[in-house]
């Protein structure tokens, strides 16, 4: 029992990941509005659909704004709440806007006492026929939005395209993090084998690569499903998708290499060297090349790391334990394979 504490820890962390990852609600947000375009000078009534919102319950003090920039915004002069998920806000748009553009995007902000403030960026496009930014600045004087409520309680961020599928951050992403940690440990054992010629180190490396490849293939499959309902298709030929598939093929060739040789010692030595080179190729494939071009994955295309609304502090409280949990779970499976292989080896020795 004492020896197996890390298996128990891994399972407990996974249990926590699944419970917290599935049960913590999403922050209230705006799903869609109608109409999303209007002309300057008219009075427009916008229907606002909310997700997890409490428009009716938080009816007192419900407010809405169309925000132009950091200083200028327009407050709704009339709000009609239909139910918790649907409200209508009427805005009297001024004749001119303080801008020289013909079409100006404005963000929508809704605030009530229960949900706090929700923002839909570039929600409404206002077109103006005559451009007079000086007159517009007079009609829309700088007025800060103040007295916004904040949501109480633990939530995951609301992201418009992801919605609930943001929870895949605790299942799809830790598979890849776990895979990299497991492959790195395999490199350590391969190195140990090359130094000492210890057959057990070779078997440990083999088992770890087995589990790493399992995680990688599961990562590709789960990523494809997530992509189908986020980016529109299973395989978007996104650079990170392609490069991780290439990395998986490199690691699959490891098994081909092992199978191609009969001499046990030669097999172990060559595959150890191959695994070290495969890991050296894995890092640029996953972390360097996707950053050099445009990628659909967050944290790529010149924008280092993910953070902000993709991974806030509440998500980190589940995300990091998820990585440790999935890694320990993978190590457990690897250990079972290793014990099987060692038994087999013992059997043939005698």
């Amino acid at each position: 029992m004492k020896k197996n504490w890390w298996k128990i820890l891994g399972v407990l962390l996974l249990l926590y990941t699944i419970l917290a990852g599935m049960l913590v609600p999403l922050k209230p947000g705006i799903t869609r509005i109608n109409p999303n375009r209007a002309a300057a000078g008219e009075s427009v009534t916008i229907s606002i659909n909310g997700y997890n919102t409490h428009f009716a319950q938080g009816n007192e003090g419900i407010r809405a704004w169309l925000k132009l920039d950091d200083r200028r915004s327009l407050e709704a002069n009339n709000i009609f709440v239909e139910n918790d998920g649907l409200m209508h806000a009427t805005f009297a748009l001024p004749q001119n806007l303080p801008s020289t553009d013909k079409v100006i995007p404005m963000s929508l902000i809704v605030d009530n006492s229960i949900d706090g403030a929700s923002v839909l960026p570039d929600a409404v496009f206002i077109s103006q026929s005559q451009i007079d930014s000086v007159q517009g600045a007079r009609l829309m004087p700088p007025r800060p939005i103040d007295g916004l409520n904040s949501f109480e309680g633990m939530t995951f961020p609301y992201r418009n395209i992801l919605v609930e599928s943001i929870r895949n951050m605790y299942f799809h992403v830790p598979l890849w993090f776990g895979m990299i940690l497991i492959f790195a440990l395999a490199v350590y054992y391969n190195w140990r084998y090359l130094q000492s010629g210890d057959a057990n180190a070779d078997l440990k490396g083999l088992s770890l690569i087995r589990v790493g490849v399992l995680y990688g293939i599961l990562g590709l499959a789960t990523g494809a499903l997530w992509a189908r309902f986020t980016w529109g298709q299973y395989w978007s030929w996104d650079v990170k998708q392609n490069m991780s598939a290439v990395a998986m093929l490199i690691y699959l060739a490891y098994f081909v290499l092992r199978g191609a040789m009969d001499d046990r010692e030669k097999q172990a030595r060559l595959s150890a060297v191959y695994s070290i080179f495969a890991f050296a190729a894995l890092i640029p494939l996953l972390f360097v090349i996707p950053r050099l071009t445009d990628s659909l994955h967050p944290g790529n295309g010149g924008n280092p790391g993910f953070g902000g609304d993709d991974l806030d502090n509440t998500m980190r409280m589940v995300f990091y334990p998820a990585i440790i949990g999935w890694t320990l779970f993978g190590l457990w499976i690897a250990q079972l394979f290793y014990r099987k292989d060692r038994l087999l080896e013992k059997l043939y020795e005698n």
């Binding site: 599928s165 799809h172 499959a221 499903l225």
Partner: protein
């Protein structure tokens, strides 16, 4: 036996594609804030890990049989 696993895989993909054509699959996956995408991801991982454990189980059975022959 391995051949049949491949057939099973293609069969599952085929069924999924047929469902996708019917529109009911799309409708379900996009409903309730795409929570079914998360369910699908968890199911893929569950099935993948279980399949791996079955593979290990069969290898161990083979090993046990070999030990029994030696006795």
């Amino acid at each position: 036996m391995k051949k049949y696993y491949f057939f099973l895989l293609f069969w599952i993909i085929g069924i999924t594609e047929a469902l996708a054509d019917s529109g009911a699959y799309n409708e379900m996956m996009y409903s309730s804030g795409k929570i079914y995408v998360v369910l699908g991801v968890i199911l893929i991982m569950f099935v993948g890990i279980i399949a791996y454990l079955i593979y290990l189980d069969r290898k161990l059975t083979k090993l046990e049989n070999q030990i029994n022959y030696d006795d």
